[in-house]
Amino acid sequence: MDIIIPLLVDGLAAASLIFFIAVGLTLVFSVLRVLNVAHGSFYSIGAYVAVSIGGWAASAGLSPWLSFPILLISAALVAALLGPFIEATFIRYTYGKPEALQILVTFALFLIFEDLQKLVFGVQAHYQDAAMQVLGVSEIGGIIYLNYQLLLIALAVVVVVSLRLLMRHTRLGKLILAVVADPEVSVTLGINARQVYSIAFTIGVFLAALGGALATPTSGVAPGLGAEAIVLGFAVAAIGGLGQIEGAALAAVIVGLSRVIAIYYAPAFEPVMPYLVMLVVLLVRPYGLFGTAQARRI
């Protein structure tokens, strides 16, 4: 019984970070039908920008509580600057094209971004942990946890609910759903599908950058972060069913818990747990937990 609480807290905290990686990827796929390998780059760029602005704020002697808006602003900045631009200049030309071509284009973008990050931010690790430090710790079941870990769990829930509300109860959400259901009919009805694609892609970039930014207070950022994120992101998105936001959330919880259980009972298996889970799920349900063969839902 003593072990249940740490398993749950650690599992959900790990799941929340994994969810932030996968949710934007699955959202972009659900709307644009593009497997975006460059998603990992947006994750790491979000982390670099958050650390850079956070570092500047710390050196300027600003309150550490400002770290939280800085994390959000960093993600918004990355999304605003890169989202519409990348969609309009690269992604747009891959719509309706074979998946191999889409992967090649987005993989090329990923490689370019990787090198650009090294040029701009250098090759060493960067840290900015003010947000983690200022929140302090809590003792649960005799083990001390970072309050920041608990905040991540809450934020992941907020993002799931917000996306649900956005898609089901706002005009923008309904426009997106209409374009997802049938782009041609949507255009005939007067919907600006291009704009919807651009907005959906930008939301995807924002979620990736937010995930990267939120990871930095505990883990910092170093070259290679984007590659690790995209591999894990694809695994989680595939487990949940590509294009399924709730599926990504459930898959993140399963993967998070499986990794934590492995660390407690069979540490050697921890690195492969996401892929073992993916293997088992896809053997039983080839379209993922929430996926179906033909349906295009979000």
Binding site: D2, I3, P6, V9, D10, A13, A14, L17, K118, V123, Q124, A125, Y127, D129, M132, Q133, V137, G142, I143, I144, Y145, L146, Q149, A215, T218, S219, G220, A222, P223, G224, L225, E228, R259, V260, I263, Y264, P267, A268, E270, P271
Partner: protein, 427 residues
């Protein structure tokens, strides 16, 4: 017929030329392998920086035998295959006289047979795995540094002397040879010094792990007396930041085998057992008594904005060993020494380094003292330094030549730890 034989002899002489004594070159090419990017760069860049500075100082003083060193740096972050390919490419360049490789034990294990095959001297600067020379001879590979066995036995001895009642041990090491070897050696030695010792948690997160929060919970739940880790680079920095915030340093005696390398980067509390995997601490009494070391430390601080952590000192000491070997080879050769001559010179090499002495034994492994202590606040610096130090003599903590290291550890007794110099004895 004799003309044909003469022509063949000349031809063979030309082919064999690079390995034999030859004319004095314009420069001594040196391949230097370390991590200069990625999470491991936090550990590898100080080595890169130290190589740059010590080579500059050697060249300013006239080079080696009047010939300047020309380094070529190779980033080990490109992965094993790329590192091997770069090694082969550099070995094919006859202006390269020696390789200083590598940081990663995995890369050293991969490169050692290639160095033998290509007959190019390879001098390891950081890869400490005892498996390098275990059961296999490498005629062209030399380690003028210590290995994992004396390094991790020393931590066990220090603990046995300082905290004799500690019996519950948790281990968190990186998931590759260096981490697994260290766990085996440390556990073996701890059990030899105190048979009541039990391992209550043993974790091996993969290299490059960013979040250790679950591992920290797992360790905290096991309630260990001692937490031992040989994490390094950005992994160590992440672990320290997360573990300290979660109180792990207050509830257990933490031993960070490579802790000195992060003293200037993260806030380590007082009382953490740290060391330098050898004697390479820039502030040790021996280092402070050496004018050249003080000059090196000062120049390093001025150029790179921080003091040289122990990977920097290991690199500098290794290049001094290469210089000493070249000087020995020059004295012994008629012309400029070739790669084979340099290899001969490394056997039995003894020299004074920036932080002590090193001897290259007949099995090509090094004898270096082991410095261990605990973190204490400093009046001079805004980061903790090492106090309550001990300097274990190399010959006391290193297995004898030809003896299986793990079998040797099995012969250790509590009396062995008691016979070693005591914590605080090195002042």
């Amino acid at each position: 017929m004799w003309k044909l034989a003469a022509t063949l002899a000349v031809g063979l002489g030309v082919i064999a030329g690079p390995a034999a004594a030859q004319d004095r070159p314009e420069r001594i090419g040196m391949g230097i392998f370390t991590f200069t990017s990625g999470p491991a760069a936090a550990y590898g860049m100080p080595g890169r920086n130290a190589a740059e500075l010590i080579i500059e100082q050697i060249n300013e003083a006239g080079g080696i035998g009047g010939v300047p060193i020309a380094p070529t740096y190779v980033d080990e972050a490109q992965g094993g295959e790329g590192v091997v390919s770069e090694f082969r490419r550099l070995a094919g360049d006859q202006s390269i006289g020696v390789m200083v490789a590598a940081l990663s034990s995995g890369n050293c294990m991969a490169l050692a047979p290639i160095a033998d095959q290509l007959e190019v001297p390879m001098v390891t600067w950081n890869c400490d795995t005892h498996q390098l020379f275990l059961g296999e001879e490498h005629p062209y590979v030399f380690r003028p540094n210590s290995s994992t066995v004396p390094e991790f036995i020393s931590y066990a001895a220090y603990l046995a002397q300082k905290s004799p009642d500690a019996t519950r041990i948790a281990i968190i090491n990186p998931d590759y040879a260096f981490g697994h070897d260290a766990a085996q050696i440390f556990t073996g030695a701890m059990k030899a010094f105190n048979p009541d010792v039990e391992v209550v948690a043993e974790l091996f997160p993969k290299l490059g792990t960013a979040s250790f929060n679950t591992e920290i919970s797992r360790i905290a739940a096991a309630r260990p007396d001692v937490i031992f880790s040989n994490l390094w680079g950005a992994d160590l920095e992440n672990f320290v930041r997360q573990a300290q915030a979660r109180g792990l340093f207050r509830s257990s005696q933490v031993v960070l085998a490579l802790g000195e390398s992060v003293l200037q980067r993260v806030e380590l509390p007082e009382g953490v057992i740290v060391g330098v995997l050898g004697d390479g601490w820039w502030m040790s009494p021996d280092a402070q008594a050496n004018e050249r070391t003080k000059e090196f430390v000062s120049a390093y601080r001025e150029r790179f904005g921080e003091y040289p952590v122990f990977p920097a000192m290991k690199m500098a000491n290794t290049i001094l060993a290469v210089q000493a070997a070249y000087e020995k080879a020059i004295e012994a050769s008629d012309g400029w020494p070739g790669r084979a001559d340099l290899r001969e010179a490394f056997a039995g090499l003894e020299l004074e380094t920036l932080t002590g002495t090193v001897t290259v034994r007949e099995d090509h492994d090094g004898l270096v003292d082991q410095l261990v202590g605990v973190t204490v606040a400093s009046d001079e610096h805004d980061f903790p330094v090492i106090g309550e130090m001990v300097r274990y003599p190399a010959d006391q903590v290193t297995p004898p030549v030809g003896e299986d290291p793990m079998a040797w550890i099995g012969t250790l007794t509590p009396d062995f730890a008691a016979s070693l110099p005591k914590p605080g004895s090195y002042e």
